[in-house]
Symmetry: C2
Subunit: 240 residues, 2 copies
DNA sequence: ACCTGAACACCGTTCAAGT
DNA sequence: ACCTGAACACCGTTCAAGT
């Protein structure tokens, strides 16, 4: 939103100064949230490598060094970005049973990591979790507890589910293809290079599974997730 | 091992030249393996940030730019490091049943990632897998296939297990503590800072589980792994 | 064939100076 | 209170020159 201000000093040309069509945009005051938002946009567009303090300054129409008025350093910035991204994850619903609630939240978590692939890697040191992260974790653990999990079982469940989600997103990110067409093209090339005699099972899997029409690695996500949720259901019953 | 060579040119002082106790060590010829080995040692000691081409050169008693005679660039170096680390993972044994073989291999994989935490993150772009990586993947898929998994089920199993292992290692790495004593100390501080009214379940979990004597997050690894292996056993039977 | 030194185009971060 | 400009100590990588 633009605030148009009237010039107070005399001007011969005109009494009212129109909004300046100049090189410098009207300055919106910088704050931590705007800094983090711009940083996320940069990382979404070009990965973590594309996020430098200097480019971030450019994006905010400010010198790079001004950013330091709003974040302590780059690590602080990355922590803030990770927490803002965590805030995008749908919290487990109180009205769903534990399994439905965790399943929906896990899918939402996965969607968020697909949207922001750099986020799998951003929080290198787990100190200083933000409030969105804490709230998310609290609600997930609460969902398990209210679903009948003992404290220990809730800890196991939380660890298993989130490890799987993080690891799946990492594997997905490292794949050099996404659409079925790209996958097929890439797999055909790989298969041609792959000495089938050295790696017979890899060759078989590529030829008879990955190259099948409609194959998409991302479809694996729900299969593994449901497998874990089945296991957690047994654990829940045993822990009662 | 040092190879002592005799000087062929005449020397007035002595017929035999003793190994020179000079400032410059006897130069061992550089090769890609030695470069990658030194890079791994640097990353093990100080994380990926500590690995710069200049420091790597120092470590090898060479100018930084000489490294480029053996690796194309830093990405090539990181790929090489990842593959060498993959080579440390014990391959699944042919004489074990599928579950025992995969369990042992998964534990070995986890051990390797604990030894080289930076490796969870090093292979950002999954192109150009090395031969150790390919061999490992081939043997894992083969173990599933010979254990009675259909091709599709083997693909599901492979994805679920390795996603879990990667994700668990990432979570583990991001924890700011390892020993039970550090954990207890850190958890007590966190608990004191944590507004228990805002995060009741997190507070409960910390107080009644993490702060219990002998708690170690790494113990969660086998619990989640066995849960997944149980699920895979059901999937195997259904896929037959 | 391998190694070196200088150079280029960047980084994150500090600090005194401005408004 | 916030922003700027210059500076510092680094990066990865190139390239011509040496042996």
């Amino acid at each position: 939103m633009y605030v148009v201000r009237f010039a107070t000093r005399d001007r011969s040309e005109s009494e009212m100064t129109p909004p300046r069509k100049s090189t410098s945009e009207p300055r919106v005051r910088l704050n931590k949230e705007r800094v983090i938002g711009a940083a996320i946009a940069l990382a979404d567009a070009g990965g973590l490598d594309a996020l430098t303090m200097r480019r971030l300054g450019d994006e905010l129409n400010v010198e790079a060094m001004s950013v330091y008025n709003h974040v302590a350093n780059k690590e602080d910035l990355l922590n803030g970005m990770a927490d803002m991204v965590f805030g995008e994850i749908k919290l487990p619903s109180h009205s769903d049973d534990w399994r439905t609630a965790i399943r929906k939240r896990s899918i939402s978590f996965h969607d968020v990591l697909v949207r922001h692939p750099w986020a799998t890697t951003a929080r290198d040191s787990g100190t200083n979790p933000g409030t969105a992260t804490l709230r998310n974790h609290d609600r997930v653990i609460g969902t398990f507890r209210n679903g009948g999990f003992s404290i220990a079982a809730a800890a196991h469940a939380f660890s298993a589910v989130d490890s799987y989600i993080y690891g799946f997103a990492m594997q997905e990110k490292s794949l050099p293809f996404t659409t079925p067409e790209e996958t097929a093209a890439m797999a055909a090339i790989l298969l041609a290079q792959l000495p089938a005699s050295d790696y017979p099972y890899l060759a078989e899997l590529t030829a008879d599974h990955v190259l099948k029409p409609g194959y998409r690695y991302s479809d694996e996500f729900l299969i593994g997730l449901d497998l874990i949720l089945d296991g957690l259901d047994s654990m829940r019953i045993e822990s009662q």
